[in-house]
Amino acid sequence: MAEVLVLIDHVAGQVKKPTYELLTLAAKLGEPSAVYIGAADGAAGAAEAVKGYGAEKVYVIDDAQIKGYLVAPRAEALAQLAGSASPAAILLPSSAENKEVAARLAIKLDSGLITDAVDLDDSGVATQSVFAGNFTVKGKVTKGTPIITVKPNSAAPVEKAGAAAVTPFEVTISDAAKTAQIVASQPRKASGRPELTEAAIVVSGGRGTGGDFSAVEGLADALGAAVGASRAAVDSGWMPHTFQVGQTGKTVSPQLYVANGISGAIQHRAGMQTSKTIVAVNKDEEAPIFELVDFGVVGDLHTVLPAVTEAVKAAKG
């Protein structure tokens, strides 16, 4: 069976959940091989983690020559690996950076590219959600090695023992790939809450919070949820841009999305419309967000949310 390369999503060797989802999808297409690009000392831990999700091989690419630069060296490294492994497909977790890596890889390998897949079947047909979540599209790559970026929450990870044979892979990075340098990097502070794009529940706030996110955060913490924000809240400086949900922020597809003081503009919908259950609290009964909801409360978020938070805490004991 041909190999399917899966790029491991990790921070300092700590493997993130989307990796397991991709390994699960990869097993439908062939034999999953995980690809670790990172510091050599994090490789063993990463290999151990992916072993439980069916990775037969773990290619280890030392990022000493890669980490100081943006995108291009990663694409070069993966192109070299693809040249030697001749994979049936290459799967990458959908992130801004990985989509660009995939883009360059597609040109290098003269191969087709599908971005932001939300599902993948055993014949390689990918499902995407387009036009602000108003349409779903099924498609497949017809030329070269399919390169597919997959969004978080696209599959339920299936535990399965794999050999996880660690296979170091040497890459040669050209000078031409080292032209966009990372001059400074400020790692994001861990919030202690789940990652926005991976969370099962997202509680968001908009302009209607008036800048006070405590009620939103309180409910999020009671539910074990991630916190999101509308662009209005971000533009007002109340929340960092990385919390923004929507067309120009993150797309989320959690089990439950709770929109508070958010009107439901098309650009916001684009980022949350595919959530399984949608709830809104808004004091304007005419707010367009109510067209989307499974359950809505017309009311002031500053009084409704704290009371719901108390009820959640009481129920959880």
Binding site: E100, I107, T115, K140, L256, F295, A311, A315
Partner: protein, 266 residues
Amino acid sequence: MNIVVLVKYVPDATADRQFEDDFTVDRVNVDGLLSELDEYAVEQSLQIKEKREGEEITVTALTVGPEAAEAAVRKALQMGADKGVHVVDDAIAGSDSIATSLVLAKAIEKIGAETKVDLVVGGLASTDAGMSVVPAMLAERLGLPQVTLAAVVETQGDQVRIKRDGDVATEVIGGTLPLVLSVTDQSGEARYPSFKGIMAAKKKPLESWSLGDLGVEAAQVGLGAAYTEVLETAARPPRTAGEIVTDEDGSGAKALADFLASKKFI
């Protein structure tokens, strides 16, 4: 300095967007316009020109698209770009990002044949296909550094520095011209064309090029040459109307908590 700004003509996101029978995006029956995310690219290009006072700087707006796509270039000219180039050819219809980036790369080379192109500026994503891949593909094809998804842009001499909200960190990225830059909607509000700008745009040069002008074969582009095939499209089933309650003295919170419990979220 020679700046090329990439502008895409897209169906209006607030209109009822549809697909054609061959699953390509309907670009005829839905009103189109300059992708609002590319307005930010035009804005940053103009700001670079304005900040580098005294230098001779030309901003050329480039689009690849159907007849109507000329409107995207016109808008960029009204905002303040100096020249426009519209690559239009029936064979291009249905092109995927791989073919689009090929045509854009050839057009940039042609623009650069007279005066070298120093900076290619694109948007965060096209609002129709929205892959966020074309600038990276162009950098790969043109062999240029990519400094992409900028929230803040600064240039000095031949140096470009941007701030980028990366996936796990906020990063400052630096590169040396010539390079490919792309900007996000965080980079600063785009200006509206002024009345003077609209009048001036009428006299600005706008060239229309075919594939033949670029030395690209019809067989290299279009739906037939696509590297991916769409098998089906389906409108998302409308959401069934949910229950909406009005809060009175805490009743809303109780009802919401009950709803969450009934769905097993608590």
